[in-house]
């Protein structure tokens, strides 16, 4: 089994309390399902939408994440899969898609 990083990006805000609750429930179900099937190595963590970016030889510090709103990373998980194609397939059930977000699947380098 190989390890892959799922970056959850750019999810839109829910449209109503009911909507938020349903999406939240889907997230919990999806992660639990991955976990039961032995694919979830690390559930991961949510990220604040704010932050600082430090750039250049001058180490200039600016506000906010580098990405635009539609690309902001909202959280990440580490999954185990046979190969990259399999990992990408596993991401398809992620509720982030229902909020116009996307999943970036990145193989974690083997040491």
């Amino acid at each position: 089994m190989n390890q892959y990083l799922f970056l959850y990006r750019g999810a839109e805000r829910p449209t109503s309390p009911q909507d938020a609750q349903q999406v939240m429930q889907k997230w919990i179900t999806w992660l639990e399902d991955l976990s039961k099937k032995g694919h979830l190595q690390d559930r991961g963590l949510p990220l604040e939408p704010t932050g600082k970016v430090v750039t250049g030889t001058q180490r200039t510090i600016t506000d906010g994440p580098f990405a635009e709103a539609k690309d902001i990373v909202g959280g990440f998980s580490i999954v185990q899969a046979e190969d990259l194609a399999h990992a990408a397939e596993l991401s398809k059930g992620c509720p982030v898609f229902e909020r116009n977000g996307y999943v970036e699947v990145r193989p974690i380098m083997k040491m």
Binding site: R13, P14, T15, S16, P17, Q18, D19, A20, Q21, V23, M24, W27, I28, L31, R43, G44, L45, P46, G74, G75, S77
Partner: protein, 423 residues
């Protein structure tokens, strides 16, 4: 049907009510933003950290912290609730004030305050109901439009206007003033009654949505009864009528999603616990001189609830209750229901005569159960051809697939009768 606990909707109402009290009613939109933030936060955190042990407390605490941020950041540029402003201005009193605002008994009062504020006399009844559903029950514009089978744009317009009126009212309703409380109480009763009716008789094709509207109306009515000034005979009667009607819901729409009229419902499926609760509340309502329309409607529902078969119904009693109801709140729908009861008591010919003599009968022109009722009586008169025509009219007016299927079945019954009368 899978039971879904509408936790977020319920908490939305509670949070908006508290935050509006703290921020002031003119900052309703800000309160809604903070609530939205709290839900976003839950949505981001819970999947990774797991559901908190007490989700409701988690949301409340999150909203409180967010409110503190907003107050600290904006208190120099924005006016908050005037009656609290001196407490919010100082860092010494800010946190304790918010802590106090977010405890349970305070929140109950805030919900009631908001309920009364939503029933502002400058708002039409339909706007009041939409506002209650939006603010206190956490329904989005789209969800209200779905439940009322109205267009998104129409509901949005109605809510925007209503919120503007609410925001311009400067202060939330003061629920401690007994005179103002009792003056506004009838409007609140009416809004809750309409909310319940929308669920019970409304046009939404989804029975789950309708059951939820009924549930919300019952929850808010119970909240009203819990307040010393709100526990009036009329409040009890209103709750009683909701319980006694809700008791019939499981038989009214069966597991296959088919609608059944009162006459053909499987009465063993009526909810006995709700009937008992309805009776208890009806007893409580029978104090003092007030005999409201809610008393009368609850009493009618009670007569039905205690008849184990349609033919055991005390139609004499029902007709006389409808007579009183017509005197209290004249309406063509009430008159139609009375005529149906008369038909049960005196036969279909009398029923049809009563129907023809209903004043402003034209107001029933778009109500599918008006021609359907005439059709039923025509069947019993042995005139299936006439009955068919009425059911066809009803079918054209049907508002949901469920109503359509119900009426199609009734039309099929006409055919059956036609073949029966041919020797």
């Amino acid at each position: 049907m899978e039971h879904f606990d509408p936790l977020f909707r319920r908490e939305s109402g509670r949070m908006v009510a508290v935050l509006t009290r703290v921020f002031g009613v003119h900052n309703l939109a800000l309160a809604e933003d903070v609530v939205q933030d709290a839900f976003c936060r839950a949505l981001e955190v819970w999947p990774f950290r797991g559901m908190p042990d007490d989700p409701s407390a988690w949301l409340m605490t999150t909203a409180k912290h967010r409110a503190l941020d907003v107050l600290r950041r904006e208190r120099t540029v924005r006016n908050f609730a005037p009656e609290l402003s001196h407490l919010l201005d100082s860092e010494w009193t800010l946190v304790p004030t918010l802590d106090q605002a977010f405890v349970s008994p305070a929140i109950q009062d805030d919900l009631l305050r908001m309920m009364f504020s939503c029933c502002h006399p400058r708002l039409k009844e339909e706007a009041q109901v939409a506002l209650v559903l939006h603010i206190l029950c956490g329904f989005s514009v789209g969800e209200i439009a779905g439940a009322f089978v109205a267009s998104h744009a129409a509901i949005e317009k109605r809510l925007t206007r209503a919120k503007k009126v609410l925001a311009e009212s400067h202060r939330l309703f003061d629920v401690t003033r007994a005179d103002e409380f009792s003056a506004r109480l009838p409007a609140v009763h009416r809004a809750l009654y309409l909310l319940f009716n929308e669920g019970y008789h409304g046009a939404s094709p989804e029975s789950a949505v309708r059951a939820e509207l009924c549930g919300e109306a019952m929850r808010l009515a119970a909240l009203l009864r819990d307040h010393p000034l709100g526990a009036t005979p009329a409040s009890h009667a209103l709750s009683a009528l909701m319980c006694l009607h809700a008791a019939r819901l499981p038989a009214r729409v069966d597991t296959a999603g088919e609608l059944h009229s009162l006459f053909e419902q499987d009465r063993s499926r009526w909810d006995r616990a709700l009937i008992a609760e309805g009776q208890r509340l009806l007893d409580l309502s029978a104090t003092g001189p007030d005999l409201t329309e809610y008393h009368l409607e609850a009493a009618i529902a009670w007569v039905h609830a205690t008849a184990s078969r349609t033919e055991d119904t005390n139609w004499e009693r029902i007709v006389s209750l409808y007579d009183m109801l017509l005197a209290t709140r004249p309406s063509p729908v009430v008159a139609l229901n009375r005529a149906i009861a008369v038909a049960e008591r005196d036969g279909p010919a009398e029923g049809l005569r009563e129907i023809r003599s209903i004043p402003d009968l034209e107001r029933l022109a778009s109500y599918p159960f008006f021609p359907a009722a005439v059709g039923e009586l025509e069947i019993r008169m042995g005139r299936p051809a006439a009955a068919r025509e009425h059911f066809e009219t009803a079918l054209r007016l049907a508002r949901s697939p469920m109503e359509r299927r119900f009426l199609e079945q009734r039309m099929a019954a006409c055919k059956l009768n036609e073949t029966q009368v041919i020797p």
